[in-house]
C-alpha cells in the first residue's frame, strides 16, 4: 500500500514537472509572439504616422489652391461667398422619382431629376 502511494506521488511530481516545463515554454512562446505583435503594431503606427503626415502634406492649403487654379476650367471653384448660405425652407428640392410599386417608401430623392 505504502509503495503504491510512493509510486503515485512520484508519478504526480513527474507529471507536474512536465506540466510546469510545458507551461514555461508556452509562456515564453506567448511572450515572443506578443513582442512580435507589438513590434508590428509599432511598425504599423509608424507607417500610419507617415501616411498621416503625407496626407496633411498633400492637403496643405497651398497645394489645394494650386490645384484649384490648375483645374479652374473643369471645376470653377472660387472662395465661399456669403450668398451661398440659405435656409433649408427656401430650397426647391426636386420631387423624388415616381415610386415603383415594389418600393413605396419614396425616401430616396434622385438628385439627377432636377427641375429648372
Amino acid at each position: 500500500m505504502r509503495s503504491l502511494t510512493y509510486l503515485a506521488v512520484t508519478l504526480l511530481v513527474m507529471g507536474l514537472a512536465f506540466w510546469a516545463y510545458r507551461e514555461n515554454y508556452r509562456t515564453q512562446a506567448a511572450i515572443s509572439s506578443m513582442s512580435q505583435v507589438q513590434r508590428e503594431i509599432a511598425r504599423l503606427r509608424e507607417d500610419l504616422g507617415v501616411l498621416r503626415a503625407e496626407w496633411a502634406y498633400l492637403n496643405r492649403p497651398e497645394r489645394l489652391a494650386e490645384l484649384v487654379d490648375l483645374n479652374f476650367e473643369r471645376l470653377q471653384l472660387v472662395p465661399v461667398d456669403s450668398d451661398q448660405f440659405m435656409g433649408l425652407e427656401h430650397i426647391d428640392y426636386p420631387r423624388p422619382p415616381a415610386a415603383t410599386p415594389t418600393d413605396n417608401t419614396g425616401d430616396d430623392a434622385n438628385p439627377e431629376e432636377q427641375k429648372p
Binding site: I31, M34, S35, Q38, R39, I41, A42, R45, E46, G49, V50, R52, A53, W55, A56, Y57, N59, R60, P61, E62, A65, P79, V80, D81, S82, D83, Q84, F85, M86, G87, E89, H90, I91, D92, Y93, P94, R95, P96, T105, G106, D107, A109
Partner: protein, 610 residues
C-alpha cells in the same frame, strides 16, 4: 531478520550447571536488544536531521545565489513592459480645431562615421560630398584620415540619400534613427507653432525640443507619455488661418506695408481662430534670430503677440464706454471739441477741425482727439487707469506661447494730465494687437472680460463683468456708425454688420519723438454688430497708398480698413457665419415628406405595467 531468543536454552542449561541465575541472561539479552533498537532509532533520527538540514541549506543557498545574481547584474525591466513603451512616439502631434495635422513626427535617419573602421576614407569622403553638395570634401578627407573616432555627418537624411550612402559600401558610415518634427503646412501658422530642434543627441535617438511658440510652451505636455499620444488641439482653424495669411499678404503688398498682423478671435470662448503675422517663415527650416539690428525686422518676430504698438484711435472707445458705464454721458451728450486744446504746455489737435461741439457718438465716428480727451477728463486719471488695467492692457497676455511675456505693454510710469489725455486716444501706451483683440472682445462679450487662448475646447471660468451690458451695447452701436458713416466706410461688407474703429498712430523714433511719415494703421472690429461673434484686428506696419486723387494716404481708413473688409468677406463664410439680409426669400413648401430614419432607441421609454 533472525531474532535471538531472550532465554536461549543452551546458555540457560549451562548457567544452571554453573549455579548461576539464568534470569541474568534474559536481562542481558533484553538490554542488548534495547540497545540495538535505540541505535536504530538514533540513526533514523540522525538521517532525518541531515536530510532536513540539507533541504534548508539548499533553500538558503538558492535564495542567496539568486540575491547575489540580482545584486551583481545590471537591472533590466521586465520584457513585456519595455515593448509597449516604445510604441508611442516621442512627441505628440499638434492639430487644428478640426483635427487637421499642424505638426507631426516622421522617422528619418542620421548619418555618423567611425573613421577608424573605414576601409577607404578618401573614397567615402568623395562619395559623401557627391551625395550632399553642402559638405566640404577636403574637410571630410581631413576628418576621416585624422585621429577622430566619431563624427556626425548629417542630422537628417531622406530615404533616397540613405540608400545612396548605403551604396558607398563603407563599413565606417553608420545610421541612427531620428525622429524628426515636420510641419506639413509650411508657412501657415508658423509664428503660432514656433519650431523645434534637437536636444540631447545620442546615436540611437535624440530628444526633440520645442524652440518657440506653442511647441515650447507645451513642451512638457507634448513629451509627457501619460497623455497616451493624444494630440494637442489648437483653437486655430487651418482654412481660416490660410485664408487670412493669403488676404493679409496681398493686402500688405497692395498697401506697400513692411509688415502686417491679423487676429480673429471668437468672442464667446476667447479662442483665437486665426492669427497671422507677416513676414513669416517656414518652421521646417527656421531661420536664425538676428544678432544685430531691430529684432522686429526678423521674420521670427510675431507682430500680433510681441509687437508693442501705440494703437492710436482704436483706444478711443474705452474712455467713451467707461463714461457711458458710469452714466457721465450718453451717446447724444454734446462734447466740446474746439481744436486745438491746451493741456499744460502741450497742444492737442484734431485731424480736421470739427467745430465747437460734437455729440459723443460723433466723437467716435469722426475720431476726434479733443472730444475723447474731454471725456477722459470727466473720468479722471484713477478711474481711467483702473479700467484700462481691468481690460488687461497693463500686463502681458496669458496666451499659451513662450513669446507672450515679451509682449508686455509699455505703460507710462507716471500719469500726469497730458499722459492721461494722450492715452485716451491711444498714444503713449504701447500694446500688442492681441491686447486690443481681448479688449474689444470684452466690449463684444457684453462687458465680461475675455482671455485669449490657443487651446480648443477647454472649460474656462467666465470673465469678470467690468462694463455694464447696456454700455457695451451702446459702444457697439457707436462703432457700427463708424463703419456706416465715419472713418471706416470701406469696411461695409453687406450682411456682416461690421462695427469697428480705425487707428492711425505715428511710429515712435528709437531716439525719441515720432516719425512724420511712418505710421501703424490699425482697424479693430467686431462682427456682426447685432450679436457680436468675432473680433478682427488688422494692423499694417508703415503702409502707404496712393488714393484716387493722386495723393499719398497713410490713414487706417484707406489702408487697414479695405484689408479688414476683404478678410471678413473671405473668413466669415468659411466660419459658417450667415450673412444677414433684409431680402425676403420665398418659402417653398416641401413637395414630399422625407422619411427620416428613427433615431436609435437610447431614449427613455414609458413602460406601463398594466
Amino acid at each position: 531478520m533472525i531474532r535471538t531468543p531472550l532465554r536461549p536454552l543452551a546458555r540457560i542449561l549451562r548457567a544452571r550447571d554453573r549455579g548461576e541465575n539464568p534470569d541474568e541472561i534474559e536481562a542481558e539479552n533484553r538490554r542488548l536488544r534495547h540497545e540495538a533498537i535505540q541505535d536504530k532509532a538514533r540513526r533514523r533520527a540522525e538521517g532525518r536531521l541531515v536530510l532536513m538540514s540539507a533541504c534548508f541549506v539548499m533553500a538558503f543557498v538558492t535564495v542567496g545565489v539568486r540575491m547575489g545574481a540580482l545584486a551583481s547584474s545590471e537591472p533590466s525591466e521586465p520584457r513585456a513592459q519595455v515593448l509597449s513603451a516604445q510604441i508611442i512616439s516621442q512627441r505628440a502631434d499638434i492639430t487644428d480645431r478640426r483635427g487637421r495635422v499642424l505638426a507631426t513626427n516622421l522617422l528619418t535617419h542620421s548619418v555618423y562615421a567611425h573613421p577608424h573602421q573605414m576601409v577607404d576614407p578618401v573614397g567615402a569622403a568623395r562619395g559623401l560630398a557627391a551625395i550632399f553638395p553642402d559638405l566640404d570634401q577636403d574637410r571630410l578627407i581631413r576628418d576621416f584620415t585624422g585621429s577622430r573616432k566619431f563624427m556626425w555627418i548629417k542630422r537628417k537624411v531622406s530615404p533616397e540619400q540613405m540608400q545612396a550612402v548605403h551604396d558607398i559600401g563603407e563599413p565606417g558610415l553608420l545610421f541612427g534613427p531620428r525622429e524628426m518634427r515636420i510641419y506639413p503646412n509650411g508657412r501657415i501658422a508658423s509664428h503660432i507653432l514656433g519650431g523645434s530642434g534637437f536636444g540631447q543627441e545620442g546615436v540611437s535617438s535624440a530628444e526633440v525640443l520645442g524652440i518657440a511658440g506653442v511647441e515650447k510652451a507645451f513642451d512638457n505636455w507634448l513629451r509627457d507619455p501619460s497623455n497616451d499620444g493624444a494630440p494637442l488641439a489648437l483653437s486655430i482653424d487651418l482654412t481660416a488661418q490660410s485664408a487670412m495669411e493669403e488676404v493679409l499678404d496681398s493686402g500688405m503688398k497692395l498697401m506697400n506695408a513692411k509688415g502686417a498682423a491679423g487676429i480673429l478671435l471668437e468672442i464667446e470662448t476667447g479662442e483665437v481662430v486665426a492669427m497671422a503675422s507677416l513676414p513669416d517663415f517656414d518652421p521646417n527650416n527656421r531661420p536664425r534670430p538676428l544678432l544685430k539690428g531691430d529684432p522686429s525686422d526678423s521674420p521670427l518676430f510675431n507682430r500680433a503677440v510681441q509687437g508693442q504698438y501705440e494703437l492710436g484711435s482704436t483706444f478711443k472707445i474705452f474712455p467713451v464706454a467707461q463714461a457711458m458705464d458710469l452714466k457721465l454721458i450718453n451717446p447724444n451728450t454734446g462734447i466740446n471739441s474746439a481744436s486745438p486744446m491746451k493741456i499744460g504746455k502741450y497742444l492737442i489737435h484734431d485731424f480736421h477741425n470739427y467745430g465747437k461741439q460734437l455729440s459723443a457718438t460723433d466723437v467716435i465716428v469722426k475720431s476726434s482727439n479733443v472730444g475723447t480727451v474731454r471725456i477722459a477728463q470727466m473720468l479722471g486719471v484713477e478711474r481711467q487707469k483702473d479700467f484700462l488695467e481691468k481690460l488687461g492692457l497693463f500686463k502681458p497676455t496669458t496666451i499659451e506661447m513662450v513669446e507672450a511675456p515679451t509682449g508686455k505693454p509699455l505703460v507710462p510710469s507716471r500719469w500726469p494730465a497730458v499722459t492721461s489725455a494722450t492715452v485716451s486716444f491711444g498714444h503713449g501706451l504701447a500694446a500688442s494687437p492681441l491686447h486690443l483683440a481681448a479688449a474689444y472682445a470684452t466690449i463684444g462679450n457684453k462687458g465680461k472680460t475675455v482671455t485669449p487662448t490657443l487651446i480648443h475646447g477647454r472649460k474656462r471660468a467666465e470673465g469678470e463683468q467690468i462694463l455694464s451690458p447696456r454700455a457695451a451695447e451702446l459702444s457697439i452701436g457707436m462703432l457700427r456708425q463708424v463703419v456706416t458713416r465715419g472713418t471706416a466706410r470701406q469696411a461695409e461688407v453687406e450682411g456682416y454688420e461690421i462695427a469697428g474703429k480705425t487707428g492711425t498712430a505715428d511710429k515712435p523714433r528709437p531716439a525719441g519723438g515720432y516719425y512724420k511719415d511712418k505710421v501703424v494703421a490699425t482697424f479693430a472690429s467686431l462682427f456682426p454688430a447685432s450679436d457680436p461673434k468675432y473680433v478682427l484686428i488688422v494692423t499694417l506696419d508703415e503702409p502707404s497708398v496712393v488714393n484716387a486723387r493722386g495723393r499719398e494716404s497713410r490713414t487706417a481708413g484707406a489702408t487697414a480698413v479695405p484689408v479688414a473688409a476683404e478678410l471678413v468677406r473671405r473668413l466669415a463664410p468659411l466660419l459658417g457665419l450667415e450673412a444677414r439680409t433684409d431680402e425676403k426669400l420665398p418659402k417653398i413648401a416641401a413637395r414630399f415628406q422625407p422619411r427620416v430614419e428613427p433615431a436609435p432607441g437610447d431614449a427613455i421609454k414609458l413602460v406601463s405595467n398594466k
